[in-house]
């Protein structure tokens, strides 16, 4: 089910395709199946707004906010709770070959935009809310929806290639805040590697949750494992050579055998909770909430132990032997080997962070900024409307997704225009 649109590309738009830096795709959430948030692409420091793609309504998140605090502890120890299930509070994207792919939980759609103009190329209607960024691989776009189904569509045309529902004939829909949602909603994203498409399906442990590997070309099942009363698979999944890591909603993550989906373990109870996860070498960082404070934990990605914790950490990006740590009111570069601090930038960009070449980009409240990864000096900043929760860099552009449902494209060259809704 698609709508195809043909738009006129102006000469200026074509010119804008010619980015300054070597272009690299951003094929999935946080760039790759480790969710590294790292790309080699380097943008200039004079970014200007190329276009803004507005959604009709802001994202309708799956889960309501955490309470403000744990009231049972002494007043002086009460700290604002960190939100834990934040994977769908902005429309995260993938960018491949000059096209932007953006889903919507509000509109139940996957859309393809022209990266130059921000104009819609096609729209695909799923059978329910689409909460996660797609993965684009070999000309196909893979994504799941809250109706319990994973879709594979043609990246150029939006035509459906195959779809698969893990719960099969057991699948059914229930009311959920005005919507119709399956207890086996797909809220893990879909990862594609070595010809297989991996995804998780299921919210309620008591109903059982599925971990599935499909032939990425045909959608035929390679294996499927059902786990009852063991976790709620929600958050962007990750792949290592031997394991599948799946965030566990507001809890702490599980990990599974990559060859058959068998459960291998779960990281320590209470160390750090939430849907953030990042795989670096033999470390899985996850969190970002502790019992009374924010916290990231570093789990042994080939074992089960906790290696370290980072108090109040919101996110981490790792590259070139440096941990880049994101806190509420500062960004810090830390030598990965001895944990010595390289620099600290006292800036409030608490939501998300990526590394593009030598520039860190971080999202804040109504603003986004770039920082020199070597020094922490702020190189560039721009206002945006809403919390900047999603970042991506590809094809000479920085993309910023906000909780207002807006997608901003910033480019190193002036030009472009604000997109308008195109379906007439």
């Amino acid at each position: 089910m698609i709508i195809k649109k043909i738009y006129f590309l102006s000469l200026a738009s074509v010119i804008l395709c010619l980015g300054l830096a070597s272009a690299e795709d951003w094929p999935t959430y946080m760039h790759d199946d480790h969710r590294s948030g790292v790309t080699t692409e380097q943008l200039g420091n004079n970014l200007v707004k190329a276009w803004v793609f507005p959604k009709i309504l802001p994202p309708q998140e799956a889960w309501a906010d955490e309470p403000k605090k744990d009231a049972s502890v002494s007043t002086g120890s009460q700290r604002p709770f960190k939100e834990r299930t934040v994977f769908d509070r902005a429309n995260h994207i993938a960018v491949v070959n000059g096209f932007v792919y953006i889903g919507s939980a509000t509109e139940h759609t996957m859309q393809c935009l022209d990266a130059v103009t921000g104009e819609e190329k096609w729209v695909f209607f799923a059978g329910g809310p689409v909460r996660m960024a797609p993965t684009v691989s070999n000309g196909k776009v893979y994504f799941g929806a809250d109706n319990g189904t994973v879709y594979c569509v043609n990246a150029t045309t939006g035509d459906e290639i195959w779809k698969y529902t893990a719960a099969g004939s057991d699948n059914y829909l229930v009311p959920n805040n005005g919507r119709a949602v399956s207890p086996w909603a797909v809220r893990s994203g879909v990862l594609v590697d070595q010809g297989l498409a991996y995804f998780a399906s299921g919210i309620f442990p008591s109903e059982g949750v599925y971990l599935t590997a499909l032939n990425a070309n045909t959608g035929t099942k390679q294996w499927q494992a059902k786990h009852v009363n063991e976790g709620s698979m929600q958050g962007y999944m990750l792949l290592s050579s031997s394991r599948i890591f799946v965030p566990n909603g507001r809890g702490n993550p599980y990990y599974y055998n990559r060859t058959n989906g068998a459960k291998l373990g779960q990281y320590g109870d209470g160390e750090a909770d939430g849907s953030f996860a990042l795989l670096v070498g033999n470390s899985l960082y996850f969190g970002r909430a502790g019992r009374t404070v924010g916290r990231l934990a570093e789990g042994n990605a080939v074992g089960n132990d906790i290696i370290s914790t980072i108090s109040d950490g919101n996110a981490i990006v790792v590259a070139n032997g440096v941990n880049y740590l994101l806190f509420d009111h500062k960004i810090q570069a830390q030598n990965r080997s001895d944990k010595s601090i390289i620099w600290t930038a006292n800036q409030s960009y608490p939501h998300t962070m990526i590394l593009a070449g030598n520039t860190l980009y971080a999202g804040g409240d109504d603003k986004v900024a770039g920082f020199d990864a070597a020094t922490g000096n702020q190189l560039w900043t721009s206002p945006v409307e809403g919390k900047a929760l999603g970042l991506a860099v590809s094809g000479g552009k920085l993309y910023v997704s906000t909780d207002k449902g807006l997608l901003y494209a910033f480019t190193t060259q002036p030009g472009g225009r604000q997109s308008t809704l195109k379906i007439k």
Partner: protein, 955 residues
């Protein structure tokens, strides 16, 4: 002092006289009454004002108003805003000012904070040049500064002041010590300065900081400012505060206020006044200026609608009355739009819906459907829908969400495109491709079912039994033209199709001459309800729902309310209620009503001051019947319409409403039951200490019982009193109603009767106790029996419950003491004392759970009639108490694995659900054939993956 120099002769005379009087007063009056006469005093009452001149009522320094001001009364005050202030002198001769002993005071209410606005000042603070003194504010804190040398010492209160609230602020200096008082209490002191105050020529102003190069005026109201040339003592400051504080008591509405979130981005602020008043409110949120909405019509019941509220934002508001011609504001209240659960708005920036040949018809049908059925909220299903116009018009005209189910993929795509184009696809309408013989939906879902295909010329297809399966009990299917739409049905008469699959045993089927067949699904059989805090008026902690089982329970719906709306899970909060298709949730000063079958929020309200916690010692603050919710608020009981949230009626306590609040709440038939509890008795604190887990075995701060000085019964219809009972002080947690009688335990000890509080921790409560049975309709005494309650140590809890024409009493000392009583005469039938599983995490305060004659008093289960031990239960983890349906108990076990259990006592089957938690008390209830788990684990930071409200349904 400075008057001596300005007017030496008369003042020396005055001084001599004053000294004479002063010495005399020293002999006759207490210390707090001495030396309180200011040397200057400006009371901001228009009676003291001539033009812009404010008379000095103690001395001769008249002041001048600078800038535009307004005046209010009750209390009299000047409103300073936009840079206005009051100037005593532009260049004060400071030799006339107090030199070593000084007191400066002000009554002030601030509208805004930030920067350095001052209340009274005579100061220069220019770089390193610092002289004089200042009583002021810095951001949101009061301060007093003073220089005895060349540097000002600034003392700041540790706590912030609240906006829109009156404060009495005093600074004193005695040559060695500076002190700052707020509302009579010392909040800061300093000995950094000594000797005389170091002055220079400076402006002497009120309502502003002002020196040679800076002016910071307040935004707020001042009632009075005064200066003393003596140092008032702490007791004198307190006395002056006490003498005046009554003037500043804010306007308190007789009911409310509260905010009813009732559509779109708006809300309605509701309150009542004792006398007819205009309806005026002011509200604001961070970053935006205060807005005022007013209706000049005089009335006692007020409802002001406001729109354009922002998402996830905290607002402050106050309601305003006219008193003696002047405005008087209430205390400021707050509400958060996190609790605004209305459906998504329809964007207005999209093009119109594409025109079609049946637009006029379908628009008329949408309107008529709402009129005919009264269904305006929840879910509608367009069964086999082929024209999206009907869904579009329905969502425009109501708060419904619509799902179109259609087997043809091409039609599905067309409808999706049309709805997406007008901005409602996904957010309000969705289209699902499915066979009409087997729908992909859980059952009992839809409030309204229609067919656009039938209206536009088609015929019903698929299975009508499937239509009935997904129709919510009480829901309606209207197939064809609803009442009020003229003409002939374009499609095929659906009557035969309906009757082929739907029995009149299950639904009421109505036919209108081939134009329309309607189906109204009947209420399910064998369902129960949870109408009171502990299940029913008998306090059985059971819904008695026979449909609820363990094996085939499946998720019916999940979603809102989320955890943020609830009171922290530790505080032993009131339970949800389930009655007649409506689920009521009580959050933190919040209540909501939603469809029990599909979770759609009907309405939600934020009600300041309504929080009550520690239910094991209270008993509850709300109940429901088939159409209404009854909610205790201060000295009233508000009856809300279950579907709309409209305030249908307000009942009053039977004793003095100035002294008593509404305690116990129950309803049976045409009666409501209540009790008078002395004001200030309820437990309301939830934050800041483990104490507010209310888990102690002995702390009086946690186990003192909420008791009533009068029990009463009112007629529901008109609120008239049916009867009252005040022979003893009634322990609220022991009030149980069953089979036409009301039972309770009271205390007739005179000390308890004379108690100034209804939260009673005195051991006298356990003397002169009686178990009493009254006729529930007339209040006539049926019987009463002296009863001895084991009280060494004091009972941590005491519960009385009625079931199956038997009474069960469970109390605790250092173990549980269970007893059965005859309802005929109150005779004790049996007793059993037994150890609790542990003395913490709630295992020592469990409420009994009664399913027929089977009573669970963990860790034992008894026959309620003869005390036979039926089962010994294992100790379980977690801190919640059990609840039950007809034969299924629900509970938490092993809290760190987050296990919820459904246990069928008939066959000993267990269903285990991991991943969620309950509150630390009672947040799993049953009714309408379902078990509901509220997101009441709010505040718990443990590692469980899901924190939401969930419903599990029997087939």
């Amino acid at each position: 002092m400075f008057f001596h120099f300005k007017h030496p002769t008369p003042h020396w005379s005055s001084l001599h006289f004053s000294l004479f009087v002063f010495i005399g007063l020293l002999c006759l009056t207490p210390e707090w009454a001495q030396a309180q006469t200011p040397v200057n005093q400006w009371t901001f009452d228009q009676a003291n004002v001539s033009g812009t001149t404010v008379t000095d009522q103690a001395g001769s320094l008249n002041a001048t108003i600078k800038g535009g001001v307004t005046w209010t009364s009750t209390p009299s005050s000047i409103s300073l805003t936009g840079g206005s202030y009051v100037e005593v002198s532009s260049a004060m001769n400071t030799s006339q000012m107090p030199q070593s002993n000084i007191t400066v005071e002000a009554w002030v209410k601030l509208r805004a904070s930030g920067g350095w606005p001052a209340l009274v000042s005579c100061v220069q603070d220019n770089g390193s040049y610092e002289r004089g003194w200042c009583l002021g504010t810095h951001n949101s804190k009061f301060y007093f500064s003073l220089a005895s040398d060349t540097s000002l010492t600034y003392m700041e209160a540790s706590s912030s002041f609240e906006l829109n609230k009156w404060y009495y602020v005093v600074g004193t200096y005695d040559g060695t010590t500076m002190r700052l008082y707020v509302n009579g209490t010392q909040v800061a002191s300093s000995t950094s300065e000594s000797g005389n105050i170091n002055y220079t020529t400076a402006p002497f102003v009120v309502g502003s900081y002002k020196d040679n190069d800076e002016t910071y005026t307040i935004d707020g109201w001042m009632h009075e400012a005064a200066l003393f040339n003596v140092t008032l003592t702490a007791s004198q400051v307190q006395a002056r505060y006490d003498a005046k504080v009554a003037l500043f008591k804010p306007f308190a509405p007789s009911v409310g206020p509260y905010v009813l979130f009732d559509g779109g981005t708006g809300g309605t602020i509701c309150w009542e006044t004792a006398t007819p008043q205009p309806s005026t409110i002011e509200y604001s949120c961070p970053g935006e200026s205060t807005q005022r909405v007013s209706d000049s019509t005089l009335k006692t019941k007020h409802a002001v609608h406001i729109t354009g509220l922002k998402r996830k934002t905290e607002y402050t508001y106050s309601v305003i009355r006219i008193n003696e011609g002047n405005e008087q504001s209430s205390d400021p209240y707050t509400f958060e739009t996190d609790y605004h659960y209305q459906v998504a708005t329809i964007p207005d920036r999209r093009p119109d819906f594409p025109t079609g040949s049946h637009d006029s018809l379908l628009t008329s049908v949408a309107s008529a459907l709402i009129t005919q059925t009264g269904v305006t909220k929840g879910y509608a299903l367009d069964f086999g829908g082929t024209d999206a116009r009907l869904a579009f018009e329905l969502v425009k005209a109501s708060d419904l969400n619509v799902i179109i189910v259609q087997p043809d993929p091409a039609i599905v795509l067309t409808l999706r495109k049309q709805l997406h184009a007008v901005g409602v696809y996904g957010s309000r309408v969705s289209v699902i491709q499915s066979s009409l013989d087997t729908l992909p939906f859980t059952g009992k879902w839809f409030n309204l079912i229609v067919s656009s295909d039938l209206l536009t010329g088609g015929a019903m297809s698929g299975s009508s039994s499937e239509l009935l399966r997904v129709l919510r009990p009480g829901g309606q299917a209207v197939l064809g033209l609803p009442t009020g739409v003229s003409g002939n049905l374009l499609g095929t008469d659906p009557d035969a199709w309906v009757r082929a699959g739907i029995s009149s045993n299950d639904a009421i089927i109505t036919t209108e001459n081939g134009r329309m067949t309607s189906v109204k699904r009947k209420t399910l059989t064998d369902i129960g309800q949870w109408s009171h805090n502990f299940g029913d008026a008998g306090q059985t902690c059971s819904s008695h729902d026979q449909r609820v089982g363990t094996d085939a329970m499946q998720i019916q719906w999940f979603g809102l309310p989320g955890p943020r709306s609830f009171t922290d899970r530790q505080a032993r909060n009131p339970t949800p209620l389930v009655v007649n298709g409506t689920l009521f949730m009580q959050g933190d000063n919040r209540i909501s009503a939603q469809d029990s079958y599909n979770g759609s929020i009907y309405w939600s309200a934020e009600i300041p001051g309504s929080r009550r916690v520690n239910m094991p010692r209270d008993g509850g603050n709300w109940c429901a019947d088939s159409n209404s919710l009854y909610f205790a608020l201060h000295n009233t009981l508000i009856r809300f319409d279950a579907y709309t949230g409209e305030r249908l009626k307000t009942y009053q306590v039977t004793l003095d409403p100035e002294k008593y609040d509404w305690g116990y709440v129950a309803n049976v038939g045409d009666k409501v039951y209540g009790s008078c509890v002395k004001k200030g008795s309820f437990y309301t604190t939830v934050s800041g200490s483990w104490e507010y887990w209310y888990d102690s075995t002995s702390s009086i701060n946690e186990i003192a019982k909420i008791c009533s000085h009068e029990l009463f019964c009112l007629n529901k219809s008109d609120g008239t009193t049916a009867w009252t009972y005040n022979n003893g002080v009634v322990i609220n947690s022991t009030i149980a109603i069953g089979n036409g009688r009301i039972y309770f335990i009271d205390c007739r000890n005179q000390n308890i009767k004379n108690s100034s509080t209804g939260r009673i921790g005195s051991t006298d409560l356990w003397s002169q106790n009686y178990m009493v049975a009254l006729d529930a309709n007339t209040g006539a005494l049926v019987w009463e029996k002296p009863i001895t309650i084991s009280s060494s140590p004091q009972p941590g809890v005491i519960y009385l419950a009625w079931s199956d024409n038997a009474l069960f009493l469970l109390s605790s000392t250092n173990q549980y003491n269970a007893r059965g009583f005859s309802t005929t005469n109150g005779n004790q039938l049996w007793s059993n004392s037994f150890a609790w599983g542990r003395n913490n995490h709630g295992a020592h305060i469990y409420h009994p759970v009664i399913m027929g004659d089977y009573v669970i008093a963990e860790p034992k289960a008894f026959n309620i009639h003869n005390g036979t031990v039926l089962k010994n239960l294992p100790t379980r983890q977690g801190c919640s108490t059990m609840s039950s349906a007809g034969h299924v108990a629900t509970y938490v076990n092993n809290s760190y694995n987050n296990e919820i259990h459904f246990w069928d006592i008939q066959n000993d089957n267990h269903a285990l659900l991991r991943g969620m938690r309950s509150s630390c008390w009672l947040s799993m209830v049953s009714g309408d054939g379902m078990i509901f788990l509220a997101a009441a684990s709010s505040g718990c930071a443990c590692s469980f993956p899901i924190q939401t409200t969930v419903s599990f349904s029997a087939p």
